[in-house]
């Protein structure tokens, strides 16, 4: 069985500071990992994915994520946070279906 853990329900970051949203995973075989963002009353929007290749994956809106096989982690990062980044972020792992983490609410403080 595959699973995803997002250990932080809430992350607060000051505008302009770097942000990290944590994700660890458990899956047999090679992982396919994704990050999605959900704004209030909106659908899930794809940010980035890791399939294979470079451990540092760059995605939409200046986000990036680092795949770490030894730590089974796929943390989402951004060098300088914007207030508009405030949203709910979901990490997900896939084999035949996508399994989501419980989500992390990111709040950027002006």
């Amino acid at each position: 069985a595959q699973s995803v853990a997002q250990p932080e329900d809430q992350v607060n970051v000051a505008e302009g500071n770097p942000l990290t949203v944590k994700c660890t995973y458990s899956v047999s075989g090679n992982p396919y990992l994704f990050w999605y963002v959900q704004y209030p009353n909106r659908g899930l929007q794809f940010l980035l994915k890791y399939i294979t290749g470079d451990n540092l994956v760059k995605g939409s809106y200046g986000f990036e994520a680092e795949f770490n096989k030894s730590q089974t982690s796929f943390h989402l990062k951004k060098p300088s946070a914007l207030v508009s980044d405030s949203a709910l972020y979901f990490c997900a792992v896939s084999s035949e279906k996508l399994t989501f983490g419980t989500g992390t609410r990111l709040t950027i403080i002006p």
Partner: protein, 116 residues
């Protein structure tokens, strides 16, 4: 670019009624997934279809059924509605062989179902 279209966007039903949610995938996407997101919860996988055949089944209640039609749109039918069915229902579509391995899923805006 065309996105995944879900209808209706909002739906209010009474207990024990039935509801039908529709999903229109991105053109040339042959795989459709349904997810349920309860208040403050992460999305939970319900069911998926590839080329009009059910490809996987998750935590979908027996009161729910779904199908994918020849034009690849999908409908989620929900009967004997309960208060606990109130949630945001997402549809997603992807191209490929029914798996996520090399594609990302494109999600619709969701249908917010409220059961009163």
């Amino acid at each position: 670019a065309a996105g995944v279209i879900q209808s209706p966007r909002h739906l209010i039903k009474e207990k024990r009624e039935t509801a039908t949610l529709k999903c229109y995938p991105i053109p040339r996407h042959d795989t459709v997934y349904w997810y349920q997101q309860g208040p403050g919860q992460d999305p939970q996988f319900l069911i998926s279809f590839y080329e009009k055949m059910q490809s996987d089944k998750g935590s979908i209640p027996d009161r729910f059924s779904a199908q994918q039609f020849s034009d690849y749109h999908s409908e989620l039918n929900m009967s004997s509605l309960e208060l606990g069915d109130s949630a945001l229902y997402f549809c997603a579509s992807s191209p490929g062989q029914g798996g996520w391995s090399d594609t990302e899923a494109f999600f619709g805006q969701g249908t917010r179902l409220t059961v009163v």
